[in-house]
């Protein structure tokens, strides 16, 4: 099926989504978000697929939400309902299979937040990260205030979200935003696909359970997570 703003490929148990809106620096518009939601829901029920990769077709990963669509909503109530109950980002947080993202150039706003919804992030040395929302009287709306807290230390979360500090690839690696960085892009691509193949060789049901358990560990209710761990380990 042809998509307007994404490219989708499926090969050897690996799904690959490329953000493809290069005329607008890979910003997320309404259609692109709907396309992503549809593809992700299809991938989640496709038993052949064991791992999902995100990357972009252009030199930047994504410049975030398409601000030209802002202030065009017909009703605040309607817009809140759509944001809350047709939420692509919640679908991604609850996506059961492993997600690997590969980033280069800028990852801004929702683009950055998409990386934080991924399980593994591999970055090119050209990567730069920014959450500019407070500069435009916005707050993150793709889960940033919640997912950053789960991934990196509180102090860095506030540096990035409250002070809108720009982060380069080296700092991203140091504070735990990305798993590793590569100077050579083709080497990075090669590494990501090898990594995905390695993951896809593991039994899917086991992967799904482990991912769920790890995500539970950030949900604060440690006793419930511990009990679930016990139940899951008995069922393996």
């Amino acid at each position: 099926m042809p998509w307007e703003y994404i490219k989708y490929n499926k090969k050897n148990n690996i799904a690959h989504i490329e953000l493809d809106n290069s005329s607008k620096k890979n910003s997320f518009n309404i259609i692109m978000r709907e396309e992503l939601k549809e593809v992700i829901n299809a991938i989640s029920i496709d038993n052949d697929i064991k791992v999902l990769i995100f990357s972009s077709t252009s030199e930047n990963f994504s410049s975030g939400a398409d601000l030209s669509e802002f202030n065009t909503f017909p009703s605040i109530v309607k817009s809140n309902q759509i944001a809350k109950y047709k939420n692509l980002w919640i679908d991604l947080y609850q996506f059961e299979k492993p997600i690997i993202s590969l980033t280069k150039g800028w990852a801004i706003g929702s683009g950055f937040e998409l990386l934080m919804l991924s399980d593994f992030v591999f970055a090119h040395t050209s990567s730069k990260f920014l959450m500019p929302e407070v500069q435009w009287s916005l707050i993150p709306i793709s889960g940033g205030t919640q997912t950053f807290v789960n991934k990196i230390k509180d102090l860095y979360v506030k540096e990035i979200l409250l002070f809108s500090e720009e982060i380069n690839a080296d700092k991203a690696l140091k504070i735990g935003l990305v798993n590793c960085i590569f100077e050579d892009y083709s080497e990075l691509l090669n590494h990501v696909f090898k990594y995905a193949e390695k993951i896809s060789s593991i039994d899917t049901s086991r992967l799904i359970k482990i991912k769920k358990l790890l995500n539970f560990s950030t949900e604060k209710n440690i006793y419930f997570g511990k009990r679930l761990e016990e139940i899951y380990s008995r069922s393996l």
Partner: protein, 245 residues
């Protein structure tokens, strides 16, 4: 703002810097003033960010008045809805250490040290350290500091995520003012809601937190600041003139 007994307040644009009139304060001295100040900060639309100046050192002694022994100073700091920063110099121990933990941005000098040795005095922390410190520096390091009274220097503090930046004693106040002025250039509504959502995210399941983030974002939709900022963006202009409305 001269109604406080122990605080000296200076204004910088839309922010204030709070200095203590003496370095050795008792918890009850601070509690009286801070209780008043937090309300003033939260309800004053002209204050968009707050900084605490501990550049001359900072110690808190236990309360003289028994009624104040277990009253929480950190809870008062946590109640400040606006971004909070602090500039730290020297030895920060026990309650003074607990006091800085809820702040959003911490700068210190090279010769600052941090320790919590209540356990050596056959006591335990009671002003939030056991809950806040593990969230900030991780459980293992927090246990080392709290259970064994291990102290850390400024470099370790940066490596563990306790401190954002180290600077010299001469530059610390300039750096803090620079950070303050940076944050008051942003929309105060956006910084307050972002802070609220991050802190809420520390306490709640992620999906619930994401829905709360959406609700806060929807409240911002109707603000003048947001409408004007987006219009400026569409006209390819930067927007610095936020009003907090």
């Amino acid at each position: 703002m001269n109604k406080y007994n122990f605080f000296k307040i200076k204004k910088y644009k839309k922010s204030i810097v709070i200095a203590f009139s003496k370095n050795n304060m008792t918890a009850d001295d601070i509690y009286y003033d801070l209780n008043l100040l937090v309300d003033d900060i939260n309800f004053d639309d002209n204050i968009w960010a707050v900084a605490f100046d501990f550049s001359k050192g900072f110690k808190i002694h236990n309360a003289c008045d028994d009624r104040f022994v277990y009253l929480s100073l950190t809870e008062l700091v946590m109640n400040i809805r606006k971004p909070t920063l602090c500039a730290i110099n020297g030895q920060i121990i026990n309650r003074a250490f607990e006091f800085i933990l809820p702040m959003d941005y911490r700068i210190c000098t090279q010769n600052s040290t941090f320790s919590m040795n209540q356990i050596l005095d056959v006591n335990i922390q009671f002003d939030g350290a056991t809950q806040l410190l593990p969230r900030i520096i991780g459980l293992n390091k927090a246990k080392e500091m709290i259970m064994f009274g291990v102290d850390i220097n400024s470099e370790e503090a940066v490596n563990f995520g306790l401190i954002n930046t180290i600077t010299s004693e001469y530059k610390i106040m300039n750096l803090m003012i620079e950070k303050l002025l940076k944050i008051v250039d942003f929309s105060p509504l956006a910084t307050q809601y972002t802070k609220e959502a991050i802190n809420f995210g520390n306490e709640t399941p992620t999906v619930q937190g994401m829905k709360m983030e959406n609700d806060l974002s929807s409240i911002l939709l109707s603000s003048n600041d947001r409408i004007q900022a987006i219009n400026s963006f569409k006209n390819k202009k930067s927007h610095k003139n936020f009003k907090g409305k």
